[in-house]
Symmetry: C2
Amino acid sequence: MSRSNPKVLSTLERAGGFASAQEVYRLMQREGQSIGLTTVYRSLQSLVNDKIVDVLRRDDGEAIYRLCGDAHHHHLVCKGCGDTVEIEGGAIEKWAKTMAEEFGFREVGHTAEIFGLCQRC
Amino acid sequence: MSRSNPKVLSTLERAGGFASAQEVYRLMQREGQSIGLTTVYRSLQSLVNDKIVDVLRRDDGEAIYRLCGDAHHHHLVCKGCGDTVEIEGGAIEKWAKTMAEEFGFREVGHTAEIFGLCQRC
DNA sequence: TCACAAATGAAAATGATTTTCATTTCCATA
DNA sequence: TATGGAAATGAAAATCATTTTCATTTGTGA
């Protein structure tokens, strides 16, 4: 097991809190930081395990990593440019609760994402 | 450009209307149908272009193809035993639509899952 | 029958991600 | 300070889905 290299997290932050492993790597290279691609992958995975970042998939299948705020919210993601809007999920919360009750589920969480093309794309 | 090999579509149907290209290929092989992986990919792409099937991504990044018109539904998954209940997402559909409109997003899709512990777990 | 376009598929290429493994860095303790 | 082991690192190889290349086959209209 390995812990996250802090420079990976700070680079992800600098990238707008949203980038693929390859992008983080290229960015660090360009900035002259010496790091291996393997370490970038490991660090990102570790951050995902620790729930510090979320992982999504681009349309082409590439994984993109995103800093996660702590407030519970949902995302509206542009398939074109990757732009993300954090949105409230009032209706979702109620829906999840209702459904869980109906089927007798306890300790319930949920995920919900909306994706489409933003105005510019 | 190539048109879809009809056997690919019928295999996807037989697979429950939901499978990856590799799975469709393996299924056809197992059934003794002679087809190349390339043709499976091409056919599925063509079906996507014609909007006869949807394409989504598994968590591991593999593309999965789904017959359109399959009833759209969501899942209630047990964290303990993995049991899954297919549920309706009426409230979600409306929420997704409203949010997308509010931010000017087009061609919108969404994912939503609820997870918790079922009665037995 | 002929010619040509479309379809096919084997094999190679691509690209992200993971694994392997030898090396280096840390750190606690003798 | 020296030392031993655990954790971190990264280059290179392996993996795996997907795409591209290209030669061959098939189908079709003249």
